[in-house]
């Protein structure tokens, strides 16, 4: 048994060439004459992002090395986090890289390596890893400070403000985690015309009804979703509750809380098989592609229908989570599918068959005559399949701080639906040694 302790400081200066000094473009014309335009905002105060990390770990081994493993705990605090902050639309700029405060990432990791069976001809080993990760924002710059409705000091970038109560939520805030996805939440499907008449005014609905063929803004039809209203959100001018862009709920987080993998290796004489599975739990994916399929709209590209179209609500009594299917939901329908909601934000938990390798090493006796030291023939497959609830696209998770992951968290409704997923590969190999 062994105890490990470590502490480290690392820096990150991953910014563009002109992020500190700003830049101008001179490639445009007006009335045939050249034009100079500011294209990025200078920020002379831009500095390194620094990360302080402390680790404590315990290595152990039992039964003569048959069971080995380690447990690690870590906390790391990133200060001066480099972040592309969206600027107010009166500023003349869309966004600028800024040092926006500090975030703490913390978690624990467990590793286990076991030799389950070990005989002369057959061995079976298992490697198991598990890690648990969380994060919390510790501080933000003063320009994001405000007084919350309880009179306390608070800091928040972006997010939403409830019109009636003034309560603010979402975005990036001190004491909260990064990477949350916000959207509308369904309450139920409206099943009768009376329910449709009684439904809340919905600012995003075109109010099309099949019974009279009219589009009256804000109205609902049978088969539409009734959305959950947030207490304290702004009301109609007549003082009634309504569904509008303040009725946002936290629908998940792009970052998984648990990740890890299991590798099993079997060896029988010269034949070996290894099967590696990995998993991520606790994250969500905004499945924009699914959303577009359900909208059935023709845009710059045509979207194929999904089988789920068949499960949509058709008549009173239908047991389904899916509202009525309508052509061009975004422009002609009542936007049941044309908004971020709990219908298209799907739990991203997955188990992936990441790698399977079958290898056969030819007996040395056979090779000796040809002066070959070793010959191994193998076949392996990568990313062969997922066990997941996400439909159509990859359930792989986002990453914090960059947009290199499948989904990033820089916006509360990121829709990187067309990123290339990890490729599925089948590889055949021959390894020859002399």
């Amino acid at each position: 048994m062994k105890l490990r302790l470590s502490y480290g400081l690392t820096g990150n200066s991953d910014i563009g060439y002109y992020d500190a000094y700003g830049s101008y473009t001179t490639t445009n014309l007006y009335d045939g004459q050249s034009v100079t335009l500011a294209s990025s905002l200078p920020n002379l105060a831009l500095t390194w992002e620094t990360t302080r990390q402390a680790d404590a770990g315990l290595d152990f081994g039992f039964f003569g090395g048959r069971i080995q493993g380690s447990v690690d705990g870590y906390t790391k605090v990133t200060d001066n986090l480099l972040f592309d902050v969206t600027l107010p639309d009166t500023s003349g700029y869309g966004s600028a890289t800024q040092n926006v405060g500090s975030v703490m990432f913390y978690g624990a990791e467990l590793e286990l390596h076991t030799v389950n069976v070990s005989t002369k001809d057959f061995t079976w080993k298992t490697d198991f890893t598990y890690s648990f990760n969380k994060n919390v924002v510790l501080s933000l710059p003063d320009e994001y400070e405000y007084t919350d409705i309880d009179g306390n000091e608070a800091w928040r970038i972006g997010g939403y403000t409830l019109g009636e109560s003034g309560y603010r939520f979402g975005g990036i805030a001190v004491g909260e985690s990064l990477g949350r996805i916000y959207g509308y939440k369904t309450s139920h499907i409206i099943e009768t015309e009376a329910d449709a008449d009684a439904a809340l005014y919905d600012t995003r609905s075109h109010g099309y009804r099949r019974s009279d063929g009219l589009s009256i803004a804000g109205r609902k039809d049978i088969g539409d979703y009734e959305w959950c209203n947030r207490e304290g959100s702004s009301k109609t001018a007549d003082g009634d509750e309504e569904i509008n862009s303040e009725d946002m709920f936290c629908l998940g987080n792009v970052m998984p809380t648990s990740t890890g993998g299991i590798n099993n290796t079997f060896a029988y004489k010269n034949l070996s098989l290894s099967v590696y599975l990995d998993y991520a739990l606790g994250h969500s994916v905004y499945n924009y592609q699914y959303s577009r399929c359900m909208q059935a709209s023709l845009g710059n590209c045509n979207w194929n229908l999904v089988y789920d179209a068949d499960k949509c609500w058709k008549q009173e009594g239908d047991e389904t989570d899916l509202a009525r299917f309508t052509p061009n939901d975004a422009d002609g329908g009542n936007r049941n599918y044309s908004r971020t909601s709990n219908i298209n934000v799907q739990k991203g938990d997955y188990l992936c068959l990441r790698d399977v390798t079958l290898a056969y090493a030819l007996p040395k006796k056979m090779l000796k005559k040809a002066n070959i030291a070793g010959l191994t023939i193998s076949v392996s497959g990568n990313t062969l399949g997922y066990l997941t609830a996400v439909e159509g696209i990859s359930p792989e998770s986002g990453s914090i701080g960059t947009s290199t992951g499948m989904y990033d968290y820089t916006s509360t409704s990121s829709k990187h639906f067309n990123n290339t997923p990890p490729t599925r590969k089948i590889l055949f190999g021959i390894k020859l040694t002399f």
Binding site: S23, L87, T161, T203
Partner: protein, 498 residues
Amino acid sequence: MKNIFKVLGLAVALLSFAACTKDLNIIQTDNLNSTNMWEDESDAVTATMGIYYRLRSAMMQDKESPFFWGELRVGPKMWGKGCARTLCDNDMLDVMLNTLSSSDASTNWSYLYTTIDQCNQVLKYTPAISMSDDNTAFCMGNAYFVRAYCYYWLARVWGDVPLITEPTEGTGKGIYPARAEVSKIYSQIESDIDSASNYVTDDSKGCYYATADNINMLKADFCLWMYGAASAGEEYLTKAETALDAVKNATLLNDFSSVFSVYNKKNAEIAFAINLKYGEYTSSGYYGYFIWGSSQIASSLRNRVIPVYANQWFLYSDEFIEFLKESKAKGDQRTDVSYQEYTGSGNMYDIIQWPNKFMGNYSSGTMVWDEDMILYRYAQYYMFKAELKYYQKKYGEALAQLNIVAKRAYGSAIYTDDSPSAVKQALVDENLKEFAEEGNVYFSLIRLGAIYDYNPYRYVEGFGQAGFDTTKDNQLLMPVSQSAINKNNGLAQTKGWS
């Protein structure tokens, strides 16, 4: 062997120390940035051209445009759905019917502020650059003029808006402004117009830039607004009169259609326009919404007899078409310019109707949107003058001015009734006929106190409840976009809107 490592180690150590004695902050002089911009005359002049580049982007947006802000709100009495009354999206209907919400595209003001930021940069840095007086005057005058012009849009469309007079140069609290009272915006506009006219004293630069004439047109427009819509008092009538008296080049072309022709840009009737040019910048702006899609028109007619583009999203209402046709019966040459119809196209739809005033160049068979956007033309000068005389209760003089416009249109001075109500009605009618599609009649109707006659709160067949509900606050303004509010804690939504 060991010695070699020692020598190598020492060399590495020395080299790395040496590297640190130099400044690590490298300024890229090959790239224009905040450390080497604003040094000479060309920086200031090209940045001033940049103001017009920004203004062109701002005006040529499709839904954040003069048409949505300054005309569509006249409502379903004037406008209706396009494509044989089938097509209009939610954002469009919300503006037309006054069922706006903060998520509608037209509530976005950001392009105007991007233009204002460009003006603010020029205004801040030009005075310190040593350059010719002419160029200093050009830069300062145009920056003040366009800033006033942008704030004039902002004040009329949103009322209280953030007042920003310094360029954005950092990311602190200063770039998160609250909305300033509209009276402060009006003061800024007035002082910017005055500053502009101190710098720009002639018309030598032509209608794509600030001229003495178009600054006075803006001033007259603003002062009439202050009197008619902002109730700022009689002094603004005097100021409007002074401004109009200073306009020197007021002319009307005899042929109304040639005012808008892509072959006759910068013609004598244009006081202020935004230049579009094939190869430099083309855009359908909102004009593209008036033209039919090619798939609905027989191929033999496309861009020969009937202009085609993407999809027709707007057509005048039937009532307004009738109004234009009645005027044509009286000899009005403007009707055929503002409205066209073609019967017997033999395709999906038998009758094809379209607003016709602004068209790109389709002589090649493909629509190229290189039309200029006209922001002031001299017909407005006569209409402003008529309006001024009407407010001054000089009804006969008002008719005289109106008849100048009428004479070009009908071939004769048709207005004779000088009773106040008749003059007012004539002003309203002539504004609608003369300026349809140009994105300003909504404001004229507000000034004249006629907007509630045109878009009252009522049930409209085929649309539902529509119009300006006078029991609610700020109905003539637009709400601020939700996205602007989410990006800036300091902004509050306009009372009466959500």
